[in-house]
Symmetry: C2
Subunit: 349 residues, 2 copies
């Protein structure tokens, strides 16, 4: 904790309500440096495996858990070859087991004792065959391909009756949880609707009932806007829980991420790549997580008007303490408008 | 991520429902070592300030923000002296401002735009005058005094009309968020009811409506019990989100932490100290957070039967990744029964 290095007195703190996740955040600039001074500490990447022993590198396919599919598509007989741009594989240490599908009428409801079998899918997307390439180094088309792989795998999992929700997420850097340095993301097919998703749907419903509007359609406001593409916009959300948190949101109301088409995927890929590049330049290649917030497969039609998918990027610039863990209320030292201004002005040339 | 080092095949994963916080947890032993092999990595404490420059040390009172009270009690004229066992002081970099109390009928409701003034109290409890003493080194009476300081400060904050909830928490070690090494905790008086508290009250209400029972009164089960004292019991909760997470719970149903009496405070202090000592011995002095989960001041009488305060201790043994941040669902590699067995068997002599 260091005091403000600016001589002008900082803005008074505010408590803001996030109507998407139904939580409060404390925006408190007194607990921090100036927004433009934020930098990540160095060495954010896992030290091992390096490119001499990395099972995600091209040529080491046999050291991985089984492949699910690859781009470009190939006949199964040649799926052991090293010609690929991207692979979706099973996770070698899955948190859930794909061969333990429960029977019964509603497999997604815990029994009286609160226990469900640990059924589910846990996959890894190897985003590039090359060890040193980060997502922010890839082309819009390259990131677009990753987005298409997410969609394709989600559509496969949608066919499994017990899978209710699919969580796509990426860990980059040790303090964001990454154990592998090679650029990858993960896809989990879950037999439950996770707590944050239920809370989000309830909160968006409450907002819609009160205002008649979708909270994400309304989120695009000039002072928090970073950038726009043909089909998407990126903002620092008004009640961001984390400094320099970014949301990428479809311009047109859309409930399901997996409805994205090929052209939109490349457009989205371009904007995602640019946001990651801006974070990397501005904050010194920080560790980060991103996650896709979409709708459960079995969404009743009357919930369509207020569910709107988006991608959330959280750079990891500090440590979460007891206050946040206890209360679910985060202390963000950077006003979202200030973060949006800094990010919109990052020079990428 | 390492595979199980045990040669016997690990238990199948389970999804457990936590009825207190209304969330799921994935218990997945395949993603981990054996329970008894868990250790924290070394060097978990902030490097500076050391005892030569620490403002929390006895003799450096003038380098701190204003004192609120101290034990033993002294006339205000002598409050600058260095004779004390414990001090409660203002935080020098408060997240909320104590001089910005809002007016109006209900100051705890955000306006249409979702903004509230950043009013609130943010205090620090210096738990001991000595730099190197950890809470686990203190006597039951010493920890009991800390507990009494929490209670006394909460009762003071209860008199402020706009304060709706008080969050008590402790950060120990850098990766648990601590910026100061000298043993301390924090108390925040909030003009809102934090998200986790609302969720907890709703969840306990739902459980009570369904079963007629208080979830915490029912939590004491033999296979997850670690220890008991005259007035409290300690468990690894059935649906623990974190490996070796501990809850200390009053045996008799009690909604408000601040109703604790002097004898109970010392009894509680003894059990808390012992749990911290067990974690320290078993896990190699891990970073940890603890937090008190109590009831909002203005609790309607009909909510008393299902609100039950407790203290939660979370040792920080891993990093949270994108899955947890996205879903609110944690992956815990250690079965709570196994953690409880390990902890109940730790030899403290
Ligand atoms: N040869 C191989 N073939 C196939 N798969 C392989 C493999 N070698 C390794 N893997 C898998 O690749 C994945 C790499 O994932 P990440 O580096 O993003 O983080 P990890 O899942 O380890 O944990 C982080 O993310 C999770 C979920 O958020 C958190 O629970 C955790 O605390 C955090 O560290 C691992 O899940 C690993 O099991
Ligand atoms: N001379 C002095 N007089 C009075 N007070 C002084 C002081 N010098 C320092 N302080 C205060 O003492 C407190 C020490 O607190 P901790 O070490 O537990 O963590 P901190 O609050 O910094 O942040 C951690 O906890 C918070 C809340 O959970 C998280 O937001 C954050 O990310 C995490 O690092 C700080 O809040 C600091 O402002």
């Amino acid at each position: 904790m260091s005091s403000s290095s600016s001589s002008s007195s900082p803005r008074l703190p505010e408590i803001r309500k996030d109507y998407v996740f139904n939580r409060y955040v404390i925006i408190s600039p007194a607990r921090s440096r100036r927004p433009s001074d934020f930098k990540s500490s160095p060495n954010p990447n896992p030290k091992s495996p390096n490119h001499n022993s990395c099972p995600f590198c091209s040529g080491r396919e046999s050291e991985c858990a089984p492949e699910i599919f690859r781009f470009p598509k190939e006949p199964p007989s040649s799926s052991s070859s090293s010609e690929w741009n991207l692979r979706v594989i099973e996770n070698l240490y899955p948190a859930l087991k794909r061969d333990a599908e429960p029977s019964g009428s509603d497999p997604g409801v815990a029994d009286g004792g609160g226990v469900l079998p640990g059924f589910g899918f846990h996959d890894v997307v190897i985003e590039t065959p090359e060890h040193g390439v980060r997502m922010s180094d890839m082309s819009a088309e390259g990131v677009g391909q990753v987005v298409e792989a997410y969609r394709e795998r989600i559509l496969q999992l949608k066919r499994v009756r017990s899978v209710k929700y699919v969580q796509v997420f990426k860990n980059h850097g040790v303090s964001a949880g990454a154990s592998m340095a090679h650029s990858h993301s993960q896809i989990m097919g879950l037999p439950i609707i996770p707590p944050t998703v239920s809370i989000r749907l309830d909160s968006m419903k409450e907002l819609y009932g009160r205002t008649g509007k979708c909270g994400l359609c309304e989120a695009r406001s000039k002072d928090i806007l970073i950038d726009e593409s043909a089909h998407f916009f990126s903002i620092v959300p008004f009640a961001a829980s984390f400094p320099f948190e970014i949301w990428i949101v479809p311009r047109d109301h859309s409930s399901f991420f997996h409805d994205i088409n090929k052209e939109e995927a490349v457009d989205f890929g371009g904007l995602l790549k640019m946001m990651l590049l801006k974070l990397s330049k501005q904050l010194n290649d920080p560790p980060f997580n991103f996650m896709i917030h979409t709708a459960p497969f079995e969404l009743p039609n009357d919930q369509l008007p207020y569910t709107h998918w988006f991608l959330q990027i959280i750079p990891q610039l500090g440590v979460v303490g007891g206050f946040e863990m206890a209360s679910g209320c985060y202390i963000n030292p950077v006003f979202p408008e200030d973060a949006a201004k800094v990010l919109s002005e990052v020079n990428l040339s």
